[in-house]
Symmetry: C2
Subunit: 466 residues, 2 copies
């Protein structure tokens, strides 16, 4: 058989990398759950017309069809005829459907998290994949949703980002009303077009954006200039508001947006200083946000784009009678981890969960080794029994290659001992009472700068009670 | 918008059901990791020709294509042209590809577990879905793999099944060599056809199977009769071997198969009495097993079919030079949970992780409630702050509807108290030291007979050290 190559855009991890991903996902889940978010999972597929409602995303959708449907000509009683179903490209669209479908059985405000894969048929590049994992939180109300939740979701995600073994991340925030009010205030005939133009600032540069603001959004060139100056404003205090006011634009929506932006920045930074920075060039493209919008940059990995984005939507879903407003943030787990793992920025101390290899002196005595293993497992110590009664050197190499720190020996006299293969120290041990150092119990995930996270199930809560 | 109906064959859970699934998956993972199995995840898609290699499965495969590929006529540089990729229908086929692709970076024997979704375009029915979650373990060797691993995987899965909040399950075992040797011994011209015929025993009955054994496998009717008597043999001791011998069939493969079957049954039952029962009608259809085969029946839910199946394959994968033998078992998580949850057999005490709702007396005092919540979270207590400063009765109902046991109050005098809304008891409490009873810390999953599992991260080890 020919050498099997990986499939571009569909990243897969080796076992030691997967351990990093598992610990990251455990931490994410733990923080979400400490804040009372409930997990849901949605099916991978949605009706195509539901996926395409958003507009320009259509070319990125993977459509599914039954291989035999074309051959046997069968219509499918469940409606899954070829071409009618696609894989979801994010977690928000299926979540909106889930809320409408189950509204009668959910309690609002509904706080949910969702850690799942999504698929997009786009051309793969660093940080962008055809199959990727996202971790979303959203809070959804029925008819109304308190503004304080906009501060809350940013604080929860900030706690996640701080707990993860990743470079520092800065959550940047803007407000759609502020932008739309400003564009209307300077005379834009099409504020949506102005938003789309500004969203391209990092890609095409100020000069080209100015041209688009004139040609697409119907702005005078002086007005376009003021929009570009708006986009340059950032900061985490009241000076941001003053600098916007200095641009001399008046519009009621602008006032409302400025109030909301200051309230979010002040509310978040009061609880976790420095967590939010206002950045008035954040646009979030064509997404359907109606107020606060968030993007997150990873220091030293800015080229990845935003690793955590979201915002407020006045209508996440609606059944015609009831409207469900929401606010949420989506962490791009693959976008974050695939490049950091490839760069060796985060590593795991071993490629298996095992803390101990229990040696086998003689195949006829395997039963004794199995008993040691059962005794260790009963106390939560992960272990495996050597696959064969090979020479001790080979059994030690079996552990060493996997990064397993300890090998257990049963001597010819029946005496038990355990060897730390890193130091070579070998000591007598009792399977009923021996414990590894707490740091060795589970694989240790370390980031390049030497910081390590050893607690795999609960994340530190940095907020404290102050 | 019209009422949204669920999609047949794509089960989704409500939040309280999802909590049950999460605890089940946590237990499964915990047992697998205690036994040193490393997690991997594979991409959802495989080349179609790889998926179809097994034969008759082809009509069940979902093919994916980019929606725009047909429109823009673009050839895809990564080869993902329409119709060439399908969603995997199990976890074994992609795992075999993963082993070959990464063989140089894996250590053998490679012990891996995999908890993922798979997709089949088949007609949905109870226990069979178009999207479903499986939890697999496999041990894969390079060139060789010790026989004791066949006992090991059965013991690990038995430990999982015992730890889960499900009805008792019996793992049944047979051996392909035994069956093939027997068929050859009675003169079958096509032992594969005989196996296929016997696999239909439960569906079509003995009379029809006898006819198939004559017409398809080339057996005389007396020989077909002996095959049917073989299929009736079951038990967990040496009498099984005697009863096969009593049928008077001779073949070297039969001898080998009988030896292996007794060794697996005796080896497993020595460590966990009653865990394995030999059942000579187990065939595992067209799967590519070459020795031991397993199926598992859930008592009281036999109609679901096997909830945990697997066996030994002498060649899980091969690159032409190196062959990778393996043995594994696959637990059908959806097949197990969807019917049990629908039947109300397993329930969760709440629909959210929150143990406490921190009340808000006045929107201006929300900050005080946030501080209480932060203090509780810092000690691992999941909580949420009331969404609005509603009347206390409404805040209690917010907790009650979600099954949250405690509501925290801050009085007008600044005094803190916590109310158990089940008993109505309200006591003074300090956010820095108060703890809920351990049973209330996490949602409690209970099965219909009243047994409960409260420890969500580690499964009991029933094996002990005896």
């Amino acid at each position: 058989m020919a050498k099997i190559a990986p499939l571009s855009g569909f990243p897969e991890f080796l076992p030691s990398q997967r351990i990093v991903e598992q610990q990251v996902l455990d931490t994410v889940r733990s923080v979400f759950e400490l804040h009372g978010f409930a997990s849901i999972e949605v099916r991978a597929v949605e009706p195509l017309e539901h996926l395409l409602r958003k507009g320009e995303i259509d070319k990125e959708v993977y459509v599914i069809s039954r291989l035999q449907a074309a051959n046997d000509g069968s219509a499918d009683s469940e409606g899954a005829t070829p071409g009618r179903w696609g894989l979801h490209f994010d977690l928000t669209v299926p979540f909106a459907r889930y809320v409408l479908q189950n509204a009668g059985q959910l309690d609002f405000p509904f706080r949910r998290y969702q850690i799942q894969k999504a698929w997009r048929g786009e051309r793969p590049q660093e940080g962008r994949y055809r199959e990727f994992t996202q971790a979303d939180i959203d809070i959804v109300g029925r008819d109304t949703l308190g503004f304080h939740h906009e501060v809350e979701v940013a604080l929860v995600m900030s706690e996640v980002l701080t707990a993860l073994p990743i470079p520092p991340a800065v959550i940047k925030v803007n407000n759609r009303k502020l932008a739309e009010g400003f564009f209307r205030g300077v005379g834009a005939s099409d504020p949506e077009a102005a938003l789309r133009a500004l969203d391209k600032l990092d890609k095409v540069g100020a000069e080209q954006v100015a041209r688009l603001l004139v040609s697409e959004a119907g702005l005078a060139s002086e007005a376009a200039e003021r929009c570009l100056r708006l986009a340059q404003i950032s900061g985490d205090d009241e000076i941001v508001v003053e600098r916007v006011r200095d641009l001399g634009v008046q519009h009621p929506l602008l006032d409302q947006g400025l109030d909301e932006l200051s309230a979010v920045v002040a509310g978040a930074n009061e609880r976790r200083p420095g967590v939010l920075v206002a950045d008035l060039k954040i646009a979030r493209g064509l997404d359907y946000y109606t107020g606060t919008v968030f993007e997150t940059e990873l220091q030293g990995f800015e080229s990845l784009g935003s690793i955590c984005s979201g915002g407020r939507y006045d209508s996440l879903a609606s059944d015609g009678k009831v409207t469900y407003p929401g606010v949420g943030l989506s962490l791009g787990v693959s976008r974050l981890l695939v490049p950091l793992l490839a760069a060796g920025y985060i590593t795991s101390s071993r490629s298996v969960p095992s803390c101990v290899v229990v040696g086998v002196a003689d195949e006829a005595e395997r039963h004794a080794s199995e008993q040691v293993a059962a005794s260790l497992r009963a106390r939560g110590i992960s272990c495996e029994v050597a696959p064969s009664a090979a020479k001790f050197g080979k059994q030690i190499r079996h552990a060493d290659r996997r990064g397993i720190p300890f090998v257990w020996f049963i001597g010819a006299d029946g005496a038990h001992s355990v060897k730390d293969i890193r130091s070579g120290d070998q000591t007598a041990a009792d399977p009923a009472t021996w414990n590894p150092p707490p740091d060795d119990l589970h694989p240790r995930v370390t980031r390049a700068d030497g910081a390590s996270t050893t607690d795999r199930t609960s994340a530190p809560n940095k907020e404290g009670t102050s």
